[in-house]
């Protein structure tokens, strides 16, 4: 189930909120149990079979935590850690990458007898596996204590607001909230605003920009250079509002339920360097890789060569995490190299350039990165890039003007302008009234868009 759908908004959410708030706050254990139940319903709706895989992951990692707590010997503890990491990464690797690896091996003449492997990817496995691993590693490092309450732990792993598209919430960040949390009207109010903003970003912006990119990507040669640039700009906005909108909705839902999740996207498109971009984009993933891969490898407190190696490892993994395809690996490598360049070479020069030039430099490189990310394979990416950088006339026309209003809304919505205005005005009662009006409008317009998706007139168009 996705948040931006009629079943979630008008069935699952009302039932969940009603049940949750009918349980008095002092019975937090019961609330957590109810939450776990709804999490499982939420997940099983989309993955009726793989819900068992998630339950197994919960059991394994919960058990690993308890074992780490019990064991005192260094080697035993390490064995538990390594065992759990192998199980976690193994399951993720199997479900996510088995198909890609076998398909690639089959390209070799000697191995073309291998059977094709088709494994359906369990939704959210990349997210909940990373959450579970962070728990075990934190317990191993003694950054947090293992929990003895399976229900709380299972509710955390499967917490529906961030289950299928993040942010990756670390156990240490919510451990306290699982034990005690209070729901206040003002937090709920903030959550509603955040949720509706996220819903609007997803439904009213991302879903619409997707149409322009699809049009450009369907046949880049026919679309031509201008449309291809508009298309990749639309894609940049689409993926930001899609992913960022989902994170906003997750934070909003969390706030309604009394949780406080960390910010995941911090206006990435205002960045003036690639380094800054990755400090603002999908923060929970970057910090995860920083804390659990980059720093354990030695981080940047070692020789330049080793730092470079560490960076490239982390960025190949980051790319690969995003999807099972060689284009994702290339996309990660692309950013790894850019970050290396900035770190060791460009930094002093970049700092001297005017802000506008640094912004254009960043935006251009990010857009090129999205070509790799968005394309189905490397050949498609190469073709799209060719159209971007060699003039092709194509289908550009006055119809492109139709995208300007939405494009402008998207461009402004990707900057902190709205948040700044809100920060100045939010104390006034009239602002809350206006916010409620905007919430209503956002909710109704999003609903209208979702409902319209099913409006399929059987019109005898021609006959």
């Amino acid at each position: 189930m996705v948040f931006s759908s009629i079943p979630f908004l008008y069935v699952f959410l009302p039932v969940t909120l009603l049940g949750y708030f009918l349980i008095p706050e002092r019975f937090l254990g019961l609330r957590n149990a109810f939450l776990l139940l709804m999490n499982l319903v939420f997940y099983a709706y989309g993955e009726p079979v793989y819900v068992l895989l998630m339950l197994a992951s919960m059991a394994v990692n919960f058990g690993a935590g308890l074992l780490l707590q019990r064991c005192s010997g260094r080697r035993a503890r390490k064995a538990v850690l390594v065992g759990s990491v192998i199980l976690n990464v193994g399951a993720m690797a199997f479900f996510k990458y088995a198909g890609l690896v076998v398909d690639t091996l089959r390209l070799l003449p000697a191995l073309n007898w291998l059977p094709a492997v088709k494994v359906a990817l369990p939704i959210g496995i990349s997210f909940y596996t990373f959450q579970a691993m962070s728990y075990v590693i934190d317990v191993y490092r003694e950054d947090c204590a293992a929990t003895g309450k399976f229900v709380d732990f299972a509710a955390y792993i499967s917490l529906f607001p961030q289950l299928i598209a993040g942010p990756i919430v670390r156990y240490s960040d919510v451990a306290q909230q699982l034990k005690e949390r209070t729901c206040t009207v003002s937090a709920f109010s903030w959550g509603v605003k955040m949720f509706v903003i996220g819903l609007g970003k997803k439904v009213l912006l991302a879903n619409q920009f997707a149409l322009l990119y699809e049009q450009a990507a369907a046949d880049p040669m026919a679309a031509g250079t201008l449309v291809a640039w508009c298309g990749i700009l639309a894609y940049a906005l689409q993926i930001y509002f899609d992913f960022g909108g989902y994170s906003d909705m997750a934070r909003g839902l969390g706030a309604m339920l009394g949780f406080d999740f960390l910010v995941n996207f911090n206006y990435p498109y205002i960045s003036k360097s690639i380094t800054e971009f990755w400090r603002r984009w999908h923060i929970s993933l970057s910090t995860w890789f920083r804390d659990y891969v980059y720093i354990p490898l030695g981080g940047s407190r070692c020789s330049k060569v080793k730092t470079a190696r560490n960076l490239l490892i982390v960025w190949m993994l980051t790319g690969f995490w995003h999807g099972a395809g060689w284009n994702f690996l290339l996309w990660g490598l692309y950013y790894g190299l850019l970050l290396l360049l900035e770190k060791f070479l460009l930094k002093p020069y970049l700092e001297r350039l005017p802000a506008a030039v640094r912004w254009i430099y960043t935006a251009l490189l990010v857009l090129i990165g999205w070509v790799f990310f968005a394309s189905a394979d490397l050949a498609a990416a190469a073709q799209y890039l060719r159209v971007l950088f060699t003039p092709v006339p194509g289908s550009a026309g006055l119809w492109l003007l139709g995208w300007i209003p939405l494009g402008m809304v998207g461009a402004v919505a990707a900057t902190p302008l709205g948040a700044r205005i809100w920060a100045c005005w939010k104390e006034r009662p009239v602002s809350q009234v206006a916010a409620a009006g905007l919430c209503l409008a956002g909710l109704l317009l999003s609903t209208a868009s979702l409902v319209s998706g099913s409006y399929n007139p059987f019109l005898y168009f021609q006959f």
């Binding site: 759908s5 009629i6 079943p7 908004l9 008008y10 069935v11 959410l13 009302p14 039932v15 909120l17 009603l18 709706y45 009726p48 009207v185 003002s186 109010s189 509603v192 605003k193 949720f195 509706v196 619409q208 149409l211 026309g397 006055l398 119809w399 492109l400 003007l401 139709g402 995208w403 300007i404 209003p405 939405l406 809304v409 104390e427 006034r428 009662p429 809350q432 009234v433 916010a435 409620a436 919430c439 909710l443 109704l444 317009l445 609903t447 209208a448 868009s449 979702l450 409902v451 319209s452 099913s454 409006y455 399929n456 007139p457 059987f458 019109l459 005898y460 168009f461 021609q462 006959f463």
Partner: protein
């Protein structure tokens, strides 16, 4: 800050989602959507296997969306929202000036178009009968002055040119000048539908008579009755539900025909009028002409001067046929989408003396049923 203001956003939010859920539970389910002309999803039955492969969830989501409270209103809101945010020229149906709702251009498929025309030509030459093709242009190509900025290019010019170059046996000529000239007096296209108005159909008939060297019945012979409240297919499809309804005019010359409608596997229906007034109660009134789509319709007018005409057609012909019946003792209307028999056999059996292919250009770009013309 005052405390009560904190309750505003949660209040609005909960009101909407709970009211939506409650209204969904309480409202009686609707079986049929008149605007969409389709039966809505029935309450799904759920089995474990269906849950496993996701069909139960998909059916349930369709059911929920089909029966969502205020569904038509939401569809309208979405349409006007897109319009307000400048996306008129990007939609499939344009919100044009003077309350016209006009289909965007049909994608060009010259190969299909040429293939269809060659099949017509082949059929006409095999049958040895005199044959004509009348193509009704897309309304957008005729009414460009009403279209929004950035609208797509209509392929009609190229289609008429191709028709002229492709057809050898079938006679064809450009209907557009006649329609354009008449449109100054009265609309030849509906505002909320892609079809020709009755006035437009009369112009087609008159132009056709001129081209064939026949005499058209003068327009002054007709008694015209108007019916308002016509919301046609571009109205339904666009979601611009605030567009004022259109008017349907029925032209009556006093002729009482015998109309026999035959559909495969059904008893023929016989009527003594071109018009089926039950359909005037519906949103889409166009089926008032000869009851809409049927496989084969026979129209008899024993007093007419000419013999038997076979019209191979799409729905544009339904409103034209009453005029053609003035000149022919028998007019057959044949729809290749439904007819699966041999048309050449039909021509022999019914003593057809003339052929008319009557299609909208948009049909000729999408319909592959000319393959059944044998």
């Amino acid at each position: 800050m005052k405390k009560w203001t904190h309750w505003l956003c949660p209040g609005v939010f909960c009101l909407v989602i709970f009211a939506g859920a409650a209204a969904f539970l309480l409202q009686p389910p609707r079986a049929y959507s008149e605007r969409e002309k389709r039966y809505l999803q029935e309450a799904p039955t759920v089995t474990l296997a269906m849950l496993d492969d996701g069909t139960a969830q998909a059916d349930w989501e369709k059911y929920l969306a089909d029966h969502f409270p205020g569904r038509d209103a939401f569809v309208g809101i979405n349409a006007y929202w897109k319009l307000l945010t400048g996306r008129n020229a990007l939609e499939k149906i344009y919100f044009a000036k003077e309350n016209y709702l006009i289909n965007a251009p049909t994608a060009m498929d010259l190969e299909l178009f040429t293939t269809t025309l060659k099949r017509f030509d082949q059929f006409a030459s095999t049958s040895g009968l005199p044959a004509t093709l009348v193509m009704v242009p897309s309304s957008g190509s005729m009414l460009t002055f009403l279209l929004p900025l950035g609208h797509g290019a209509y392929p009609d010019d190229q289609l008429y040119e191709t028709a002229e170059n492709t057809l050898q046996t079938v006679r064809s000529w450009d209907l557009r000048p006649a329609l354009a000239a008449a449109n100054g007096q009265q609309p030849v296209f509906y505002r909320t539908d892609h079809h020709l108005t009755s006035f437009g159909c009369y112009q087609l008939y008159a132009a056709w008579c001129r081209a064939m060297g026949r005499e058209a019945r003068p327009i002054s012979d007709y008694t015209i009755t108007s019916y308002t409240g016509f919301c046609g297919t571009t109205w339904s499809g666009s979601g611009y539900f605030l567009t004022p309804p259109d008017t349907v005019e029925l032209y009556d010359s006093g002729l009482t025909p015998t109309v026999t409608i035959t559909d495969g596997g059904k008893e023929p229906v016989v009527a003594d009028s071109f018009f089926f007034p039950d359909h005037l109660q519906e949103l889409d009134m166009y089926p008032v002409f000869l009851d809409g789509n049927h496989t084969l319709t026979k129209i008899e007018n024993p007093d007419a001067p000419e013999g038997t005409l076979l019209v191979i057609k799409d729905s544009y012909a339904h409103a034209v046929a009453p005029f053609l019946a003035e000149n022919y003792k028998t007019v057959y209307l044949l729809d290749l989408r439904y007819y699966r028999g041999s048309v050449s056999q039909l021509v022999k059996d019914y003593g057809v003396e003339e052929l008319l292919f009557l299609y909208g250009t948009s049909t000729l770009l999408t319909d592959t049923n000319s393959a059944w013309l044998f």
